[in-house]
């Protein structure tokens, strides 16, 4: 393993030989700056061409990236890693609970839906980071539940065994389906 001083000292040599295909010895000293975002594919394609095919340098860059994430956790912003101790006290969130919370409001919504009401799907339960919304399923009398947690959306079929969370295949972009079946 090279020392940090030696790595950084090599950068001048690397810069002057950029026209040649780069080796691991060329790229390794630059990885701190790749992790920093100062070196990017658009302006240093040779560095990224090497990274795209070199498993060892990919591994090394991933470690630099983890350091970045770790350093970001030292900031004043909320970070899950920093508050790891709290994870042992998380509320369980099984699908059955979501379904149970939904029952009280589901009847009223189903009546409105059957009567042709055009109101948006009701929010059945809500926490700071989570919404549970009922949506019509294949069987109109048995809605599915959509759990929205931040940017992540899951669809729950309450009839599934153990209330298992399933992915809604209809939400997959048609192009993606085409790729997956290509």
């Amino acid at each position: 393993m090279r020392s940090s001083g030696e790595s950084c000292k090599d950068m001048e040599t690397v810069a002057s030989s950029a026209a040649l295909p780069l080796t691991c010895e060329d790229v390794e000293p630059l990885l701190p700056l790749v992790a920093d975002g100062a070196i990017m594919a658009s302006s240093d394609p040779a560095v990224f061409a090497h990274l795209s095919r070199c498993v060892e340098c990919q591994d090394s860059l991933a470690r630099h990236d983890l350091i970045t994430l770790g350093l970001e956790c030292g900031r004043g912003t909320v970070c899950a890693v920093r508050s790891a101790a709290a994870w042992h006290y998380r509320l369980p969130w099984p699908a059955a609970t979501a379904a149970g919370l939904a029952v009280a409001l589901l009847g009223a919504w189903a009546l409105q839906h059957a009567a042709g009401g055009s109101a948006p799907a009701p929010v059945l339960a809500q926490r700071a980071d989570t919404q549970v919304i009922s949506v019509p399923g294949p069987d109109p009398s048995r809605p599915y539940y959509v759990v929205v947690q931040g940017d992540h959306v899951s669809v729950i079929d309450p009839q599934a065994v153990d209330g298992a969370i399933s992915r809604d295949s209809s939400a997959v972009h048609p192009v993606m389906r085409r790729i997956n079946t290509h």
């Binding site: 950068m11 770790g70 998380r90 700071a128 192009v175």
Partner: protein, 214 residues
């Protein structure tokens, strides 16, 4: 431990190349080029052919950052959509794989940061509840434990003050290299060398802690 006396900062003629941030794909003048045996034109079919060919490599990159297979699926789909939208502007065959690598890595880092924020907020909100079980850890935590992060942060404290200051301005305040240069009254190249050396030292510390694991 590296220090300034042992590793003097570069003179003004040092040539560390540090391009500006750019989001656009690399461009070459020809209208059709080959990469991985495919002709790159402007059609979606060509993008799909490229993605099909590179899917394995992209997924392996993602698996370095994200353990959960279904999350890798989601990120792969996200990256694929970006490729479909933007591949037509890529003309340099030598640059395409590097561009794909950057897209995959950036998507993973974006996901990790997003999930850290989301789970961090959730944990704070739930901190006073009693409950059973640990339904899920932050994706970052799955890769880098709290103990390891604390070790990295202790290593940061042991860095020479000049390197630590640059890293903190970059990470904590989000200043770019030019702004740090102005703030500290040093050259941009000096900023970059301090940043590089400090990060490299932190990487050595992490390597010593986690060995061959990632």
């Amino acid at each position: 431990m590296t220090d300034q006396a042992a590793n003097p900062e570069p003179s003004e003629r040092s040539t560390v190349r540090l391009p500006e941030r750019q989001a656009s794909p690399p461009v070459m003048s020809s209208t059709a080029s080959t990469v991985a045996g495919f002709v790159l034109g402007n059609s979606q079919d060509e993008a799909i052919a490229l993605l099909t060919h590179e899917e394995g490599a992209l997924r392996r990159v993602m698996q370095r950052y994200v353990r959960d297979a279904s999350t890798v699926d989601d990120i792969y789909q996200e990256v694929s959509l970006k490729v479909l939208r933007r591949l037509e502007s890529v003309r340099d065959p030598a640059a395409v794989r590097g561009w794909l690598f950057q897209l995959a890595r950036n998507a993973c880092l974006d996901y990790l940061r997003r999930e850290d924020r989301r789970k961090g907020s959730s944990n704070e909100a739930l901190n006073d509840h009693s409950a059973v079980g640990d339904l899920g850890r932050s994706p970052s935590e799955q890769l880098l434990s709290r103990e390891r992060i604390e070790a990295v942060q202790r290593a940061l404290e042991r860095l020479p003050a000049s390197q630590r200051e640059v890293i903190r301005l970059r990470i904590d305040e989000g200043l770019d290299h030019e702004a740090i240069s102005t703030r500290l009254g040093i050259s941009r190249q000096a900023v970059e060398v301090r940043l590089c050396r400090g990060r490299a030292t932190l990487k050595e510390q992490l390597d010593a802690i986690i060995g061959g694991e990632l």
